[in-house]
């Protein structure tokens, strides 16, 4: 009798209890010797010894199963992999600056980068209930994304296959964001005008509800103004003081993060 068969006999008796069923005899060998040497004087005690010895034998005797055929790989994708720094940036953005995530992914697409496996899985899982962003992740993920969703259906979008609507062009323009009315006119302006306008808004005093529209401005202003904008904001924070100073530093942090993101994903 094999250890495996003996184990199943032990499970059966254990379900019923030794008050109702005698323990099974151990197969000849080490387990039987250990049970014979045990000091237990009741059926339950002897069976406990058999259970312990059999469990140890099964675990320590772990053997590999038969080799299994490998999965057919996805079609080759020659695009270079997003760098570790850029992948780390995506994780930081998701945690701290989700307003930048759309731009990160579209910049990856435009730069001709390939998504690393952890980022691809993270994007698919994170946007399962967002048709546009999920489709964008699949489009940027390329053949690996489609292949992965086939093998790991939990990454698929619920109801995608039966849904009548589909996303026409997931890599279309960056979605617009609501920006403070005073700043709409300087979204495309140069560093001096953008910095000056933002500083004026902050100096006039901001209420908490304005935070998002100011964040959106920094997330959508011209990339080349980010460096000067961050410097201006840092300097202004000391002058502003009070609650506005905290928000000013936050906006400066965002400008620095966005500038770094775009640098990391600059075309190869």
């Amino acid at each position: 009798m094999s250890i495996s068969v003996h184990w199943h006999e032990l499970v059966t008796v254990a379900l019923l209890g030794t008050d109702r069923r005698d323990p099974p005899p151990a197969p000849d060998g080490a387990v039987a010797d250990i049970v014979a040497d045990s000091l237990g004087d009741t059926p339950a005690a002897r069976m406990l010894t058999a259970i312990a010895a059999t469990t140890v034998a099964r675990r320590a005797g772990v053997r590999p199963g038969p080799p299994a055929p490998a999965l057919a790989p996805p079609p080759a994708d020659a695009r270079p992999l997003v760098t570790p720094a850029a992948a780390a940036r995506w994780r930081a953005i998701v945690r701290d600056w989700p307003v930048l995530e759309d731009e990160w992914l579209l910049t990856v697409a435009r730069g001709g980068w390939r998504l690393p496996p952890d980022v691809l899985v993270g994007l698919l899982r994170r946007h399962r209930r967002d048709a546009v962003r999920w489709a964008r992740a699949v489009a940027v993920g390329g053949p690996a994304a489609t292949w992965l969703v086939e093998h790991r259906p939990e990454l698929d979008r619920p109801g995608r296959r039966s849904a009548a609507s589909s996303v026409d062009d997931p890599l279309d323009e960056l979605p617009g964001l609501a920006v403070a009315p005073e700043l709409v006119g300087v979204l495309e302006a140069g560093a001096a005008a953008a910095s000056s306008a933002l500083r004026a808004v902050l100096a006039a005093g901001v209420v908490p509800a304005q935070r998002n529209v100011l964040v959106n401005f920094v997330a959508r202003c011209r990339p080349d103004v980010l460096g000067p904008l961050a410097a201006t904001l840092r300097a202004a924070a000391d002058d502003l003081g009070g609650p506005a100073a905290g928000l000013t530093h936050t906006l400066a942090d965002l400008a620095v993060a966005r500038a770094a993101m775009l640098t990391e994903l600059a075309a190869q």
Binding site: L48, P64, L120
Partner: protein, 465 residues
């Protein structure tokens, strides 16, 4: 020199019931307290309760004891526990000892050491020192602590442990007699009462195993097999623990540690360190009761494994000082046995941000490593190994495979999708943790990066590290 702070697990272990600890957590908010203070010996504060006057609580954290003006008959009360929780979190400021606290401490010092009340103001106080879970290093008494009769203390602890192991074995026999279909197994109290008894016996590690088992009953189709196997391991430890005085030293130490025998951090750190360059090969977070546990697996250049454990209670941050893929040259101090678990001593230097990945074996080599490990430590419930193999599906189950065989992967492992994506049908180097449910992938080692894909703590429970 200040007395080391306790760990949160010590406070949890001190609580007479999980409900009492949960109640204490609710009170462990500085805003509910006034006059909080701590010194090398004691903690004190006034907690607003349901009464008109605040409750005066004080805890002796060196010669364990407590006192509280609340009417609770259960000891320690939730106010004393909450005070300890606040202290562990660093929310009790250092202050000069108030006169009332000094008098109480003085009164405790005058009592005979054998007086049960010396552990607190209540004869019901269950312990004379902080109980702890498995192998946890206990804090060292402060320099002001009165000299202890170490032999007498050790013998007393050993006697309690042996009593607890006898009781554990008797309980296991009862389970076998009445069978796993006994409805009592579905009730948490059945397990919790035993766990509480084991904590009293200073067998915190066994208490943890028992509590984990309570959460398995009825939760999966094969729970009978899982529970039965674990009952077998508990019996093995109960038997081996009772023979500790007769076992050879390394095995005796390993068994004692597995049962929950405590060692002082200073004893560990005073031992000969194992100095090497260590690669952080993997990380895995698991929730155990109300504590988040982080295991960080280190692999030395000479091939040996070590594990660094850290803990976080609700809203606490887990230790993030050992990021996966990094390397460091450091002294490790292993727990007795020598155990895989270790404390990090002095750190010479951090290596490059990205280390050379640990060497990988094939699937047959991996099962050999796992088997050898489990033959030496049958009670181990996690075994690390780095294997080069491809993820694929065999008989409806995900496995790691190569020409030498296949190794089952844990079906619910959160990193499985990333492992599949990383390999894309080809072999990759992956560090896994063997468990009874299959291998849990922790790290994929790619040529230019290491992907940390081990189970991650729920961020609504722990704060960002």
């Amino acid at each position: 020199m200040s007395t080391p702070r306790w760990s949160i697990e010590q406070v949890v272990a001190l609580a007479p019931t999980p409900a009492r600890y949960a109640g204490a957590e609710g009170l462990a908010v500085p805003g509910r307290w006034a006059g909080l203070g701590a010194d090398d010996r004691a903690l004190w504060g006034r907690c607003r309760g349901s009464g008109r006057e605040p409750y005066e609580a004080m805890v002796d954290h060196v010669e364990l004891g407590w006192r509280c003006s609340c009417p609770s008959r259960s000891q320690p009360c939730k106010h004393a526990l909450a005070l300890l929780v606040l202290w562990v979190r660093g929310q009790v400021p250092a202050d000069a000892t108030p006169l009332g606290v000094a008098r109480w401490l003085d009164g405790r010092a005058r009592r005979p050491a054998t007086d049960p009340a010396s552990a607190g103001d209540s004869a019901a106080a269950p312990t004379a020192e902080p109980p702890e879970p498995a192998g946890t290093a206990e804090p060292d008494p402060g320099p002001e602590a009165p000299p202890l009769d170490l032999d007498a203390s050790r013998n007393e602890r050993l006697a309690r442990l042996l009593d607890g192991l006898v009781e554990l074995d008797r309980w296991l026999e009862d389970r076998l007699r009445t069978g796993l279909s006994d409805p009592a197994l579905g009730r948490y109290e059945t397990w919790d009462a035993l766990a509480a008894r084991l904590i009293d016996a200073r067998a915190g590690a066994l208490a943890n195993r028992v509590r984990r088992l309570a959460g398995v009953v009825g939760t999966r189709p094969d729970w009978h097999e899982v529970v039965l196997a674990e009952l077998g391991i508990l019996h093995l430890l109960a038997q081996a623990g009772r023979r500790v005085p007769d076992l050879a030293s390394p095995l005796a130490d390993a068994v004692a540690t597995a049962c929950g025998w405590q060692v002082r951090q200073s004893e560990l750190l005073a031992g000969v360190p194992e100095t090497d360059t260590w690669v952080v090969a993997g990380r895995s977070d698991t929730r155990e009761d109300r504590i988040e546990v982080r295991r960080v697996w280190l692999r030395g250049r000479r091939g040996q494994w070590a594990m660094v454990l850290s803990f976080a209670a609700y809203r606490q941050a887990l230790d993030a000082s050992l990021p996966v893929g990094s390397e460091l040259t450091a002294d490790l101090h292993r727990y007795p046995g020598p155990s895989v678990r270790a404390l990090v001593g002095s750190i010479g230097e951090h290596g490059p941000a990205r280390s050379t990945p640990p060497p990988a074996v094939d699937v047959a080599g991996a099962t050999d490593e796992i088997g050898r490990w489990l033959a030496a430590e049958p009670w181990a419930d996690r075994v690390p190994v780095t294997v080069r193999a491809a993820a694929t599906v065999a008989d409806g189950r995900w496995v790691l495979t190569d020409a030498t065989g296949s190794l089952a992967l844990a079906p619910d492992a959160p990193g499985l999708a990333t492992l599949v994506a990383a390999g894309a049908g080809s072999a990759v180097d992956v560090t896994v943790e063997w468990t009874i449910d299959g291998a849990v992938p922790l790290t994929v080692h790619l040529p230019d990066r290491d992907l940390d894909i081990g189970p991650v703590a729920d961020d609504s429970f722990v704060s960002a590290a």
